[in-house]
């Protein structure tokens, strides 16, 4: 045909993998008993699509395999087969097999033919008789009836070939089902001068003799639904209902008058029956659109640059004085409008990349299901907050760490059923995944009701590995934190699941790279909880500009509690070093940014400065700065891309005048001030270096 079908492969693979995921999650729901009958239809449809698509693109192995699955599923949805545990498990395995086959086809890898064959024969065995098959009368007209043969009139529209379909392939498939005779009608071919080689001018009359159901014929032509005129008429009529339900005609095409004249008249019930299905299919397709992620990234970058330009214009506008005032007024109004529009645009664009975390949580039911049986433990997975949205890149990067945490919970946390009963706990352990928004962050919790982290074993192992001195006393928190050290594991032996000791430090590093943090709390025999905190938006934040000496910094508005002018009477100096400010009922440590950063301030005296009270993780400090400048939205640029992470700074930005301003990181500032007594509060706890 000359058309390269491979360009459509990518879409086929993407859709097929999505379909497999949908199948998997529906199968799991069914196996938990929490599904409804709709689910089996969903699973069937997904399998059907994959079968059809793979057939069209020539992946016959996939097509054959999914055909067996589909037959099994068909019986289940017709109520002819019981939906039981073993069937569901076999189908789950089959999903894996299909996934492997598709991956091999996509990446050109090796196909595990043995596994495919073995699973396929098990599917066939199940089909053929091990299980009880309930005989029931077919509900849909024409479903099970078989005819001597069919007369098929096939007139594709000219653009059919451009959709990547090849009529000859379809005819091959038909020929496999029975005896096929094909008569081509070439009357539609124009003269050589008008001939477009990419268009289809042919139509065919086919007769297919054999034990074939109309359903099977329809399947083959499903992919060209909407791109052709198709009439299927039985040659030997056995049931008068047949004629009525036969057609899959999708619309008339004026220029195919030639074919129409020859078409046999047949009753036409299609408009009502076929259309709703199609309409439904189309409606679903129209509600979303696939976009390459690089396009989105570019769009977001553009919007980021737009924010910078807009703020520059805003700055210039506010500084204009000598211009004719009516024009100035117009300009100012225009700039205000621009700011509003830019802000809305930016919010919309940021939302494009936000996905519910369920995309990431989806892999866990299957994983817990498999892993718990592998480990011989009974585990129930609870998921909450799966609608919480976060940026797609963050979600992709957090997936692996989460997998690691859940594996750990299953492997180390949850005890065996016997051990749990002995402790008076229910036999089935619970692992809970929870996500919610808090402040400008998303919080993800992985908790279990297992045995908790063994603090004394951790301490012993740490001492054994010389990570800490033998007699150094550690608080419980610090002890638990030790699990994040590289190479640390208290597992007695390596297992495939965990124990290699390379996990937790990588987890923490990955989370830190995203600008987040991870903490663990645990109670002996009660369980453990890992809390991961991640920033919601990576790129843009609302900031307060402030100046210290000749340097300008940005403080994220979200961290600011309040700003005030100091009343010197309310300052107390502790131990001659640290300054505390009494703020209503609370004491706030005063941190001089000039000292922390080594900058010469405008004035050293407290009255001249301003105190900006900031908060993070429940800790508050008051930053002493020289001046508060404006507030603006800034685009966060990474310091680490070309330089490295600097403590106390979360990044940099480019101001309206083109200069670089540094963005302050409250957590880092608190840590820094804790170390340097001259600039902040006295030591409250032991400092690990």
């Amino acid at each position: 045909m000359g058309i390269d079908i491979t360009q459509f492969h990518q879409i086929f693979f993407e859709e097929s993998f999505e379909g497999l995921e949908a199948m998997e999650s529906a199968l799991l729901d069914l196996s938990r008993g929490s599904g409804n009958s709709e689910l089996i239809h969903e699973i069937f449809r997904a399998a059907h699509s994959i079968k059809g698509g793979s057939g069209t693109f020539g992946f016959s192995a996939v097509s054959e395999f999914t055909h067996v699955m589909e037959t099994l599923l068909d019986e289940m949805r017709e109520g002819q087969r019981e939906i039981n545990e073993s069937a569901l498990n076999l189908l789950l395995e089959s999903v894996d097999v299909v996934r492997g086959m598709l991956e091999a086809a996509r990446d050109g890898g090796v196909l595990e033919a043995d596994r495919v064959a073995a699973t396929q024969s098990r599917l066939e065995a199940m089909l053929n008789g091990d299980d009880i098959v309930v005989q029931a009368s077919s509900s849909m007209a024409g479903q099970q009836d078989i005819h001597k043969g069919w007369q098929i009139d096939f007139k594709p529209y000219p653009e059919l070939m451009k959709t990547g379909n090849d009529p000859v392939l379809m005819f091959h498939e038909l020929a496999e089902m029975g005896e096929l005779k094909v008569v081509v009608d070439t009357s539609g071919i124009p003269s050589a001068a008008h001939f477009d080689p990419e268009e289809c001018y042919l139509s065919w009359k086919l007769s297919l003799m054999g034990d074939v159901t109309e359903e099977q014929i329809n399947e083959i032509f499903e992919w060209v639904d909407g791109d052709c005129d198709l009439t299927i008429n039985p040659i030997a009529v056995e049931d008068s209902d047949q004629i009525a339900a036969a057609q899959v005609e999708t619309g008339s095409h004026e220029s195919c008058a030639v074919a129409q004249a020859e078409r046999q008249p047949a009753t036409d019930r299609q408009a009502d029956e076929a259309a709703p299905n199609q309409g439904e299919r189309r409606a679903v397709a129209e509600s979303s659109i696939r976009v390459n992620i690089t396009k989105i990234d570019e769009l977001i970058n553009m919007v980021g640059e737009l924010v910078i330009t807009q703020s520059m214009l805003g700055q210039v506008g506010s500084e204009l004085e000598n211009v004719d005032s009516s024009k100035l007024e117009k300009l100012r109004n225009g700039l205000v409008q621009l700011e509003r529009n830019t802000r809305e645009l930016q919010e919309s664009v940021m939302r494009i990349r936000m996905f519910p975390i369920s995309y990431s949580f989806n892999r866990f039911p299957r994983m817990v299901h498999d892993l718990s049986s592998q480990l011989g433990k009974k585990v129930e997975l609870k998921i909450s907050g799966e609608a919480t949205e976060l940026d797609k890149t963050v979600m992709e990067k957090i997936s692996d760490p989460l997998v690691h945490l859940v594996r750990n919970a299953l492997d180390h946390g949850i005890e065996t059923p016997d051990a749990r009963v002995a402790k008076g706990k229910p036999e089935t352990g619970v692992v809970h995944l929870n996500a919610y928004h808090k402040g400008g962050n998303i919080i993800i919790e992985v908790s279990d009701d297992g045995g908790g982290l063994p603090a004394d074993r951790i301490l012993a192992k740490a001492r054994q590995r010389a990570l800490i001195a033998d007699d150094e006393p550690l608080t419980r928190e610090k002890t638990l934190d030790l699990i994040f050290e590289p190479g640390f594991t208290t597992a007695e032996e390596l297992s495939d699941v965990s124990g290699r000791g390379v996990g937790m430090d990588v987890v923490r590093r990955n989370i830190r790279d995203l600008g987040g943090s991870i903490e663990v709390t645990s109670e002996q025999d009660k369980g453990s909880k890992f809390t991961v905190r991640l920033p919601l938006t990576l790129a843009i934040l609302d900031g307060q500009l402030l100046s210290v000496g000749s340097e300008t910094f940005i403080m994220p508005l979200i961290s600011i509690v309040e700003s005030l002018q100091l009343d010197c009477d309310l300052i107390n100096t502790v131990a001659g070093q640290a300054e505390m400010y009494r703020l209503r009922d609370d004491y706030v440590p005063v941190v001089r940014l000039c000292k922390l950063f080594g900058i010469k301030p405008k004035s050293m005296s407290l009255q001249d400065g301003l105190l900006v009270v900031v908060e993070q993780d429940g800790m508050r400090i008051g930053l002493l700065v020289d001046e508060l400048l404006g507030q603006q939205q800034v685009v966060i640029k990474s310091l680490e891309t070309n330089f490295r992470r600097v403590e106390g700074l979360s990044g940099a930005t480019i101001l309206g005048d083109g200069t670089v301003a540094l963005i302050l990181d409250v957590g880092g500032l608190i840590a820094m001030s804790g170390r340097d007594p001259a600039s902040g509060p006295p030591h409250k706890k032991e400092q690990a270096a």
């Binding site: 640059e305 340097e551 922390l596 950063f597 080594g598 900058i599 640029k637 990474s638 310091l639 891309t641 070309n642 330089f643 490295r644 992470r645 600097v646 403590e647 106390g648 700074l649 940099a652 480019i654 083109g658 200069t659 670089v660 301003a661 540094l662």
Partner: protein
Amino acid sequence: MSAVKAEQQEIDNAATLIGMSNNDDQYLTFILDNEEYGIDILRVQEIKGWDKVTRIPNTPEFVQGVINLRGSIVPIIDLRQRFNIEKLEYGPTTVVIVLRVQDEDSDCIMGVVVDAVSDVYNIAKEQLREIPPSFSSSIMESVRCIATVNEKMVILLDVDHLLNADELTALGSIDT
């Protein structure tokens, strides 16, 4: 005979480390404290004048700060201070060479302040001479070899080692 071969092999190795292949490679040379240094020209992104820099707190002295280079935040290193030579006053003739530095898994862009840019030379592998390994300090490790061009000595630098971010961290006493 074999000693010469061994030496040639070592030069080849050193040459490969700098990222040279085949016989001639191009180097951009610059002047620093009356000495001429060369860097692989493929690593040079651009040459620009000195612009106001935003200082980053708690970084080593030779890290002057960062600038806005068409939307990216690029750190500027003073090469004199990096080599522990006294820093000069910056003026309108001060030159910044913007380089592409490769770390094990990432690329980044950094600028270095030098006294003046000199020339572009094609230097053949045969003209390279090794530095005796007895001079060893972290700075000297950035010097890969020496070449003689037009009867002048040109010191060829390894950009990646010179501006390695970890090095900068290690040398700077404040750290995370």
